[in-house]
């Protein structure tokens, strides 16, 4: 049996397959479809300081090989998460990681500090890359000095594994990666959605209420792979890769490019069992290629 376990910044994962924030709810929605204990981890929906209603409808447009969304961080805020959601999910037999979002440095710090108190949450993922909020959000993820600042401020109050999720909407992803490592990030997750737009020509109107939105799905995979590869060469912290992963082959490609683990996002909508099938598929790939440890594949792309 090949060994799929990975250790990311000191945190053990039974396999490299996790699910992406915003595409997996709080995990319990998938209980009818899969055994959550088969996953390496679950990244739950973004949590902010206060309740957010999110953006107006319509929030979704289907595209060739993908979709645009403008959900806008709808959630009931950190107190609701701690009292209503955490008790419900804390005993899942997998790593539960919370995606932390905000509009100001203070908000990120407030949420991170509260989550630091929750025993069964071993890590947070700072979302400095959401394209769907007017204030902050993506600004933190596109200006290196701001990315360093928000990471460093959260680092002061958060004592477990600190992951930072990067936006692909930048000229140099390596500069942003270096900036968050300087701020104290233990792990880098990439990529969030690519800023895009859809137009209804008949009505001569934008499809989304916010005009622009975040593109996800197979359409963004080549961009995501390139960025994982560039960041792998630029910094020495572990990388969690995602963007358009639909099957085990896609996942292996991300691992070869330098990801220590991967996240399954939009694929969950089409096949709610996609994540578990990907874990099985990685195992058969390893058997077929006689790979004993998944870690032997991380960054193992041969370029000469």
């Amino acid at each position: 049996m090949p060994d799929l376990s990975v250790n990311i910044a000191g945190l053990p994962f039974k396999n490299p397959v996790t699910t992406a924030s915003g595409t997996f709810g709080y995990g319990d929605e998938f209980r009818d479809f899969i055994d959550l204990g088969r996953l390496g981890g679950i990244f739950v929906k973004a949590v902010t300081g206060k309740n957010r209603d999110g953006n107006a409808y319509p929030r979704m447009a289907e595209t060739s090989s993908g979709m645009l969304n403008s959900v806008g961080l709808q959630n009931k805020g950190i107190e609701h998460f701690c009292h209503e959601i955490y008790p419900r999910i804390k005993n899942f037999n997998t790593n539960i990681i919370v995606n932390v979002s905000g509009s100001t440095v203070e908000e990120y710090v407030e949420v991170a500090e509260r989550i630091n108190e929750l025993d069964n949450i071993p890590a947070i993922e700072l979302n400095i890359s959401c394209p769907n909020v007017k204030l902050g959000g993506m600004a933190f993820g596109t200006i290196p000095s701001m990315a360093t600042e928000v990471t460093a401020e959260v680092r002061k109050v958060y004592h477990k594994v600190l992951m930072v999720k990067l936006s692909p909407n930048v000229t140099s992803i390596s500069d942003l990666a270096k900036a968050v490592v300087d701020g104290g990030a233990d792990v880098i997750t990439l990529i969030n959605t690519l800023l895009g737009m859809a137009i209804d020509a008949e009505r001569r109107r934008p499809v989304l209420s916010t005009i622009t939105g975040g593109l996800s799905g197979p359409a963004i995979k080549p961009v995501a792979l390139r960025m994982v590869w560039q960041v792998h060469k630029a910094v020495h912290v572990p990388i969690i890769g995602l963007g358009g992963i639909m099957n085990a082959t896609d996942a292996i490609e991300f691992i070869l490019a330098g990801a220590s683990a991967i996240q399954v996002g939009t694929a969950n909508f089409i096949d709610p069992a996609a994540s578990v099938k990907i874990a099985d598929g990685i195992e058969s790939y390893m058997e077929r290629h006689k790979i004993k440890h998944i870690t032997d594949l991380v960054g193992a792309l041969r370029t000469e």
Binding site: G22, T23, F24, G25, E29, F30, D32, F33, K45, D53, G54, Y57, P58, R59, M60, A61, E62, T63, S64, S65, G66, M67, N69, V71, Q74, G217, T266, N268, F269, I270, D271, P272, A273
Partner: protein, 259 residues
């Protein structure tokens, strides 16, 4: 009540072309059908259609627990539904189901069902369910034209059927809200269930409100997942933004900000 959701390949056992734009699929489940309630829907995977990336939602049109089959009524709109129209007996269709909430049982026997377009789909199942509870509703169905009037026999077995067509080729001419049952000073129904285009549901809701009649509508919305995790399908209600695929698709009009 929480019902277990399944992801299954169902076998197509019957395709009935109702007219140019509508057809029904009868689908046989490989496992015992779960409990399905009227108003619930399924997310269908459209295979081999490159421009159809996401699943497509369809209401459950009827259920036959003895044959272990369910039926969908589909209107051809774009690439996804055109592709489904090519399915033949023996093919498979992957569904996630049953999804969403359901219509509630009424506290009265004076019940009216109103449907238009593909919005008639959940009403047959609802009418059959009401019959099992000894309620024989009046069923008002709106169609574009005579050629599209279909499955009237099935509805007639459940209750009294009234028809409108846009062009007057069958039943009364006009929209469902133009029907003579609505032209009286006070309508005779104590509960209305409605499904159809947005404008139609809003017009029916207005009549219900004026008559102080309880009314449930089944909303349509663009969906990505269909089971509550993407938050793309929201609608504003008295509790803020709620998911049409989980808290809906059926809402009491009291809870909607419709004037």
């Amino acid at each position: 009540m929480e019902l277990k959701k399944l992801v299954e390949d169902l076998r197509v056992t019957g395709v009935t072309r109702l007219n140019k734009r509508h057809f029904t699929l009868e689908l046989l489940s490989p496992v015992k059908l779960p409990l399905i309630l009227p108003g619930q829907f399924a997310q269908a995977l459209v295979e081999n259609s490159p421009s159809t990336f996401l699943r497509r939602p369809f209401s459950i049109h009827s259920v036959d627990y003895q044959k272990n089959t369910l039926r969908l009524l589909i209107q051809i709109k774009g690439p996804g539904t055109s592709h489904l129209a090519e399915l033949k007996a023996g093919d498979h269709l992957n569904l996630i189901y049953p999804l969403g909430n359901s219509f509630s049982l009424p506290f009265t026997k004076d019940v009216l069902l109103v449907g238009g377009g593909c919005g008639v789909a959940p009403l047959l199942f609802l009418a059959q369910f009401l019959n099992q509870n000894n309620i024989h509703p009046t069923i008002l169905l709106g169609f574009r034209t005579r050629e599209e009037v279909s499955e009237i026999d099935a509805y007639s077995r459940c209750g009294k059927v009234l028809i409108t067509t846009d062009d007057g080729t069958e039943g009364e001419k006009g929209l469902v809200v133009d029907h003579s049952i609505f032209q009286r000073e006070k309508i005779e129904f104590k509960k209305i269930y409605c499904c159809g285009p947005d404008a139609m549901m809003k017009a029916v809701a207005k009549i219900a409100r004026m008559n102080n009649t309880d009314c449930e509508v089944s909303l349509e919305n663009t969906m990505a997942c269909g089971f509550g995790v993407c938050l793309c399908c929201i609608t504003p209600t008295d509790k803020g933004n709620e998911r049409v695929c989980v808290e809906g698709p059926v809402f009491n009009i009291r809870r909607l900000p419709w004037k």
